[in-house]
Amino acid sequence: MAKLHVTTTVNGEPLEFLCEPYETMLDALRNQLALTGSKEGCASGDCGACSITLDDRLVCSCLMLAAEAEGHEIRTIEGMARGGRLHPLQEKFLEQAALQCGICTSGMLVASEALLRKNPNPSEEEVRFWLAGNLCRCTGYDKIVRAVLETAEEIREAAQ
């Protein structure tokens, strides 16, 4: 069976790739496009380590076929730092040690960024609820949640 030709946009860059009809977006990112920041944790949509945005909506790339990217806009962790500068969330995760082994971190960051775009002033409960689909086996979540809340506060202050 012939491979499918997919025309899409990844992190603002138009690009094309070939994929198998059954291939997931996560596999295409990692294996075809050499974007290995998105991780495979569970491959069943439970852990969130493969989180990306599809037309600005947070999804698990393991639960999406690569062919579905046709005509849509994908953003991954690789697109988060701009012009050599880390995103404030990335800075804060580093500063607060909101990561240990790092497997969940790109998913946490992509998910947190999606949250702050939708809700610049989330409560702790809203952060925890939003990130409930991102599993971390190291940090106990507390540092992550605090880092997201503090980043949100700093972004709000900077905007004033």
Binding site: M1, L4, E20, P21, Y22, T24, A43, S44, G45, D46, G48, S51, L54, R57, L58, V59, C60, C62, L63, M64, L65, A67, E68, E70, A111, A114, L115, F129, W130, L131, A132, G133, N134
Partner: protein
């Protein structure tokens, strides 16, 4: 998985044609949150995947007159939650749809997929049954309508005919004083599969229940419409006697299994408890509290 094909047709006619021609090995792809997991585990090996999300009717949320809505079968939970008026009119249906999985899953998972996956524990199904939702399906022989409660046939099986695709849900007009609610029992606080799910939709007129529908999930091979429970509520002021009678009707309707999530006795008991709590929430909403 070498002989698999993927198509994403622009029209329903094309989708039905491709789906029907491919026979039993074909699968419909909406949000993919069940299908991709099933493919990954090897439980499903589709010969053809028909992605229905390029078809406008399947991804649209349309407001009808008097509080009615038509929801495309592939509309993700997150999209439904962002509709400016759906939440006010159908809070129970929305909370049930939004209980399906994480934020990431909500970005993709649809009520149509939840219904067609035909899990007895699907959260949106009892709420849609309580709402009196009707689905439109289209197949090689044209369109027809089915009540939501008539769609599931058994765990993992529906009453859709070969080649038929779920198109949309139609929710009826809402008289004043109407509201709905959905509750489920899970041992965790979030992100789990229902041990029991209960949807109640009702209309109050001067404090008296004029209309009610009750849906139960995870207590039988398919989600159930529990008419005796609704009858126990109708005509009452939702007093203890009426709620107890409705709770008992729910328990009597249960035909659950024993599994790691709950025993038969536990599920049966909880079905009654949830009925009372869900009916109270629906009533408070109907009174604007």
């Amino acid at each position: 998985m070498t002989d698999i094909r993927y198509v994403a047709p622009q029209t329903l006619d094309e989708a039905v044609g491709a789906y029907a021609a491919a026979g039993s090995a074909a699968r419909i792809l909406a949000g993919g949150t069940d299908l991709l997991v099933q493919m990954r585990s090897g439980a499903v090996k589709p010969g053809l995947i028909v992605d229905i999300k390029k078809i406008r009717e399947l991804t649209a949320v349309e407001e009808l007159s008097g509080g009615g809505f038509r929801i495309g079968a592939a509309v993700p939970g997150a999209v439904l939650a962002e509709h400016p008026r759906f939440r006010q009119t159908w809070p129970g249906v929305l909370e049930a749809v939004n209980l399906i999985g994480s934020t990431q899953v909500q970005g993709r998972a649809s009520a149509g997929g939840n219904l067609c996956n035909a899990s007895p524990a699907g959260d949106s199904v009892p709420a849609m049954i309580a709402a009196g939702a009707v689905v439109t399906v289209q197949g090689p022989e044209g369109r027809r309508e089915l009540k939501v409660e008539d769609v599931p046939a058994a765990p993992g099986r529906t009453n859709l005919k070969p080649g038929e695709i779920l198109v949309s849900f139609t929710l009826p007009p809402r008289p004043p004083g109407s509201a709905d609610a959905y509750l489920r029992m899970i041992p965790r606080t979030e992100m789990d599969i229902a041990v029991v799910g209960c949807g109640v939709s009702l209309t109050l007129k001067d404090g008296v229940c004029a209309h009610a529908r009750v849906g139960l999930g995870a207590v039988a091979p398919t989600a159930l419409l529990v008419e005796p429970a609704a009858q126990a509520l109708i005509g009452s002021r939702l007093d203890d006697a009426a709620l107890n009678a409705a709770a008992n009707a729910c328990r009597a309707a249960c035909r659950p299994i024993d599994d790691k999530r709950g025993t038969i006795a536990y599920r049966t008991q909880i079905a009654g408890v949830l009925l009372k709590r869900t009916a109270n929430i629906a009533a408070e909403r109907a009174q604007g509290k």
